[in-house]
């Protein structure tokens, strides 16, 4: 009973906040709603006894990715109204695409994994260790894509740095020899300024 309650709670939360991501006017609010969506989906995962995936979703997406995302969104002074100027114009098209996609997802997975019967996970014993199981397939059966994904992450770092890094700046370096050899006339000079008008 309580599991069903939690399931409905988190599902409703995920759907509602996902809708709010699109609807809300300010980008910062949209990002915050996305955070809640992630947390709700993590809750659903934990309900399915996939605690590792749930926790990692929060850790990586909420704890790191969305933090930086918010960081950027807060710095940019984006005008929410201007951003959604084409919203109504594109809405019908978006709805058509959406309904087609939805129809095909339902058609594709309905017979295998839809219905509330699947929302109730099989009870595993306390010894069930999702992390150990995941690790044992990740490093054996899926070793090859795992390594490839590692290469992909390394590449992403290199690509990002090569596009943004513009050489080291030594501005913050303390140079003792400069400090010692400095002369008074390098630091101090007299200049004459006109008196500014007093208000």
């Amino acid at each position: 009973m309580i599991q069903q309650f939690i399931f409905y709670l988190f599902s409703a939360m995920a759907i509602a906040t996902a809708a709010m991501v699109i609807i809300s006017k300010s980008p910062v609010r949209a990002a915050l709603f996305l955070v809640v969506t992630f947390i709700a989906s993590a809750g659903l995962w934990i309900l399915l006894q996939a605690e590792f995936l749930g926790l990692v979703l929060i850790l990586v997406y909420v704890g790191a990715v969305m933090t930086l995302f918010l960081f950027v969104v807060m710095m940019l002074d984006m005008d929410g109204i201007e951003l959604r100027s084409g919203f109504v114009q594109y809405l019908p098209f978006a709805l058509i695409v959406l309904s087609v996609m939805l129809a095909f997802i339902i058609l594709a997975v309905w017979h295998t994994s839809f219905g509330l019967g699947h929302a109730n996970p099989s009870k595993e014993t306390a010894a069930y260790n999702n992390i150990a199981l995941l690790g044992s397939v990740l490093y054996t059966q899926y070793a090859y894509p795992f390594v490839l994904a590692g290469a992909l992450l390394l590449l992403a770092i290199i690509a990002a740095i090569s596009l943004t890094f513009r050489g080291t700046r030594n501005a913050k370096k303390q140079r003792v020899e400069w400090q010692v050899s400095v002369r008074a006339q390098d630091r101090l000079y007299k200049t004459s300024m006109k008196n500014e008008k007093r208000l």
């Binding site: 090859y144 894509p145 390594v147 590449l155 690509a159 090569s162």
Partner: protein, 481 residues
């Protein structure tokens, strides 16, 4: 759980390249800035040649799958990767001087190239949607970054942005198609998907078809054929020529291999569905590519439209859904990438510090200044147009023959008409080079170092030699299927 080490010999080239990426990365980091560029260049070329040797050394004629079906090692993968190495070696040789003279960080260029090559190798050999998708990203992500690598070029950043966004949408579509297939077949393994889709459960067929459309859309984007061609001209024009050179060569082979994997390995039973889609794509690609190319004055843009047209011809071979057509398509793609790398390579060589050669008019009177380069360009242009003594002729011939064998004569006729239209703008380039007076300030011949001269000669003459003796390459492509 006891770990069973999977069979690892087929992966030696991949492992070697990944290892060498780390070496190049460290070399670029710790070498003195003065020599870092040259050092990483030499290491990168060594890597590619080493991988080439490894692929030769472990060449297998039978198909081996390893890592739980994640990795397919078959003649298709080996032939394709071989030509990926070859075109990349040529690409880097052409690009070296260009990037040395411009504000492009050299070690990064080589490292990103190597990463992309690794992604292509993995993509070509992918036996599972998971490894396929990850390697697809591994292969395209460096390309996006490379387009924007030249920072003082605003057009480059704009092109990179377009490329990245459309590429992300294409990846999303591919992924969506894959997810539909996964939903219906419950498997990510290409062979399992193939065996499951054979039994055409009527309610499932409609999902298969939609999955097919999304998957083809994703691949067509990577190939750059018509409904998803809009990035091609902008990216080719906006990117630094050295990067355009790379994009026009090896990635096309990899994208073709991706198409083979998805259509012939995973979904061969749906060929009645995908044939009409490919027919539509190839007709529109040939038409749009060839017609729009005529009005272009920017040489890079013209070659971009020509590449769209060539993708159309390549697809002609595949849509016949037979071994003859497949090998004709592969032959077409390999010869196209050799020609494209040669043509863009020539532009790269002629571009000097501060002077970009990218207009058709820039070639005016090339014969008077550098007769040898003009001759090479002549071969390349004739080959692209599909004129007889060159490899381009046999490529077109093979594709048309496959079409006639498949009783698609009307399509063959259509392709021929577009080829004749296309010949116009290739020959216009030749006319500009040979029959127009050079601009007065460009009278003196361009200085091109000996090694570059050697490489462009190999490339240009290669197009001719492969055209005179095409049987070896044709046999190689036939042996694959």
């Amino acid at each position: 759980m006891l770990l069973q080490l999977p069979r690892i010999t087929p992966l030696f080239p991949e492992i070697f390249v990944l290892f060498m990426i780390a070496v190049v990365l460290l070399a670029g980091l710790f070498a003195k800035p003065r020599i870092a560029g040259r050092l990483t260049y030499l290491l990168t070329q060594t890597t590619l040649m080493g991988a080439c040797i490894l692929t030769f050394r472990f060449y297998d004629t039978e198909t081996i799958t390893t890592f739980n079906g994640m990795f397919i090692h078959d003649p298709l993968s080996q032939v394709s990767t071989l030509f990926v190495y070859v075109t990349t070696v040529f690409t880097l040789a052409y690009a070296r001087q260009y990037i040395e003279e411009r504000s492009i960080q050299q070690p990064e260029y080589y490292i990103l190239t190597l990463f992309s090559v690794l992604g292509m190798m993995a993509l070509i050999s992918a036996g599972n949607f998971l490894s396929l998708y990850v390697s697809l990203e591994l292969f395209s992500l460096p390309l996006y970054a490379m387009v924007a690598l030249r920072r003082d070029l605003a057009a480059g950043s704009e092109a990179a942005m377009k490329y990245f966004i459309t590429g992300a949408v294409a990846s999303g579509m591919l992924l969506y198609g894959i997810s539909m297939l996964f939903g219906t077949t419950n498997s990510l393994d290409l062979n399992v998907v193939a065996s499951t889709t054979i039994t055409l459960n009527p309610t499932m067929v409609i999902i298969y078809r939609f999955a097919l459309v999304f998957i083809i859309a994703g691949v067509i984007f990577k190939l750059g054929a018509v409904p998803f061609h809009m990035w091609v001209p902008d990216v080719y024009q906006g990117a630094p020529t050295s990067v355009t050179l790379f994009i026009s060569g090896a990635p096309k082979i990899a994208a073709l291999a991706l198409l083979f994997r998805l259509l012939t390995t995973a979904l061969p039973s749906l060929h009645l569905q995908w044939t009409p889609i490919l027919i539509a794509i190839s007709i529109t690609s040939m038409a749009l590519g060839n017609l729009v190319a005529i009005v272009q004055t920017d040489l890079k843009r013209m070659l971009a439209y020509s590449s769209i047209a060539h993708m159309g011809y390549t697809l002609l071979g595949i849509l016949t859904a037979g071994a003859v057509g497949y090998s004709a398509g592969l032959f077409y793609m390999i010869s196209y990438s050799i020609m494209a790398v040669g043509a863009f390579g020539l532009l790269t060589l002629m571009s000097r510090a501060g002077v970009e050669v990218d207009k058709v008019g820039d070639l005016r009177g090339l014969n008077a200044r550098n007769p040898w380069l003009a001759l090479m360009m002549l071969f390349l242009m004739f080959s692209m147009a599909g004129l007889p003594p060159t490899v381009g002729f046999f490529a077109k011939l093979g594709v048309l023959q496959a079409l006639i064998d498949a009783h698609l004569v009307w399509l063959a006729v259509l392709a021929l008409i577009f080829a004749i239209i296309g010949a116009y703008y290739y020959i216009r380039v030749v006319k500009v080079m040979y029959f127009e007076e050079p601009d007065s300030q460009q009278l003196q011949p361009m200085q091109i170092s000996g090694d570059m001269r050697f490489i462009i000669s190999i490339n240009g003459l290669g197009v001719l030699v492969l055209g005179l003796f095409p049987s070896a390459l044709i046999d190689l492509c036939r042996s694959v299927f």
